[in-house]
Symmetry: none
Subunit: 258 residues, 2 copies
DNA sequence: ATAGGCTATGACGTAGGGTAAGAGTCAAAT
DNA sequence: ATTTGACTCTTACCCTACGTCATAGCCTAT
């Protein structure tokens, strides 16, 4: 004396749409126990139970594919699945937190008429000589206009971003130093140089400007060979690295200008 | 002497894919300033700036359609858009927090040796007809919400919790039965009914919901008078008890609703 | 002239269904 | 017996924001 539910009945019971049941049948996630000769889907209690389980995992934002795997494989490591999912959720939460920070800053700035981060803040924490050097170079060669930042740049630059940018820059710098004996034109080196270029533009606050500033960037490369303070690593001068870097940058600029 | 960027150049500068630029062109979000005779897209500085703005809002998870509206309408209330978006993000964050709570509880219980509790287990020890009846009633009358919450509840409930709940329910049930000949409105009876109500809400998995579900609860009382299987005690039907209980519940609900 | 790199359009795929269209099925009321 | 109305079936296009081919045209260097 089995109770049979039609699609609509089951859908109503579980609070999902008929289309959903059709879909679940189609992808093999929940198949009706019987089909009438007319092709009607009939479900029984066990399908109802399975549907409940499905809805539970769905509430936890599991993709349907994973739900199927979990339910169909009794030996499935549910705990690991849940933990992985937890990590994903945490990451999403982090991201949302960042977005909220940015959005609140933006609202604030828009209301204030848009004041932004200062250069002092930008260079905060970096060796003073380097900061001074870069800023002076920028100002002398391209004037105030070039140093002006776009609204975008300022709005998206939270202190956390800045911190991240700084460490990313340091990382890449080390990477470049490690390449010192390689071919300056090799793809790996050029890749790192491209990143360096983008980071430098960010430090200059000109990342969103149309002018790519190739000349300026090339000058920076030459500056490294003339002023060895910039290529000090672990308190130790490194003229070979400066030479290497200058070549790599020159190559990069030439390739880009084509 | 305008600088022109090809798709690939622009894509590299901005860190997006060529496909993305094709798409933005297609949907009118970012059109190239020029097309060569061969159909090649050429972008200028102003497109680069616009693209930066687009990417800014995209980072904030705005849908492309909204970004277009924001950028194309200079009178657009950006602050309100941002605030609305902020609210949406907060809601998403809340939801994720809830999911995390549930997922952590679930992991905890699974680690405790709790396999997922089944409905059989939930109703284990209780007369089968009752189990069936309650479950069916819940599904038919309140559908998805009740069922889903119930599932959640199940997963976050240890066997000890469940056992305790069951015995407490049985105790209270006996207590109520013993009152059968008293005044349904008397304080003692009403006290027991209140407990019964709370327990029922726990079985339904709706104990933490703001909605008190008075109607549903009253229905349950009436069901007792119509289906005497629910009020069987020691294998013996008890219509008088059912009547009594129905009245007591009705009184309780009326008092609470005031 | 040919190779190799860039570009174009078009089409299909993603997750989880919504929203039909067109046609068949079933039970009850006429 | 037939019509109505409620269901049901399959097929198939729509949504986001692109990724990933496939095929073909364009451009430049050797």
């Amino acid at each position: 004396m089995k109770k049979h539910y039609s699609v609509k009945q089951l859908a109503r019971l579980a609070g999902v749409s008929v289309r959903t049941l059709h879909l679940y049948d189609e992808i093999g996630l929940l198949k009706p126990s019987v089909r009438t000769e007319a092709g009607y889907r009939l479900y029984e209690e066990k399908e109802l139970l399975r549907l409940q389980q499905i809805l539970f995992y769905k509430e936890l934002d599991f993709p349907l594919k994973d739900i199927g795997d979990i339910l169909d494989d009794p030996g499935f490591d549910r705990i690991r699945a849940l933990e992985g999912h937890r990590a994903a959720l945490l990451a999403r939460k982090d991201r949302i937190d960042n977005l909220l920070t940015t959005i609140e800053k933006t609202i604030f700035h828009l209301k204030k008429g848009g004041v932004m981060l200062s250069h002092e803040e930008l260079y905060e924490g970096l060796p003073k000589e380097k900061a001074e050097g870069w800023r002076k170079e920028a100002w002398e060669r391209w004037g105030k206009d070039a140093v002006e930042k776009s609204e975008m740049q300022l709005l998206t630059m939270t202190r956390e971003d800045l911190k991240g940018l700084k460490t990313a820059f340091a990382d890449n710098w080390k990477k470049l130093a490690a390449f010192s004996n390689s071919d300056p034109a090799s793809p790996e080196v050029q890749e790192a140089v491209r990143l360096h270029y983008q980071q430098i533009r960010q430090f200059w606050g000109t990342a969103s400007e149309p002018d790519p500033q190739w000349k300026a960037y090339k000058c920076l490369g030459e500056m490294y060979t003339q002023d060895h303070r910039y290529t000090v690593i672990d308190g130790q001068s490194n003229p070979a690295f400066a030479e290497f870097l200058c070549k790599a940058i020159a190559h990069f600029v030439e390739e880009e200008q084509k």
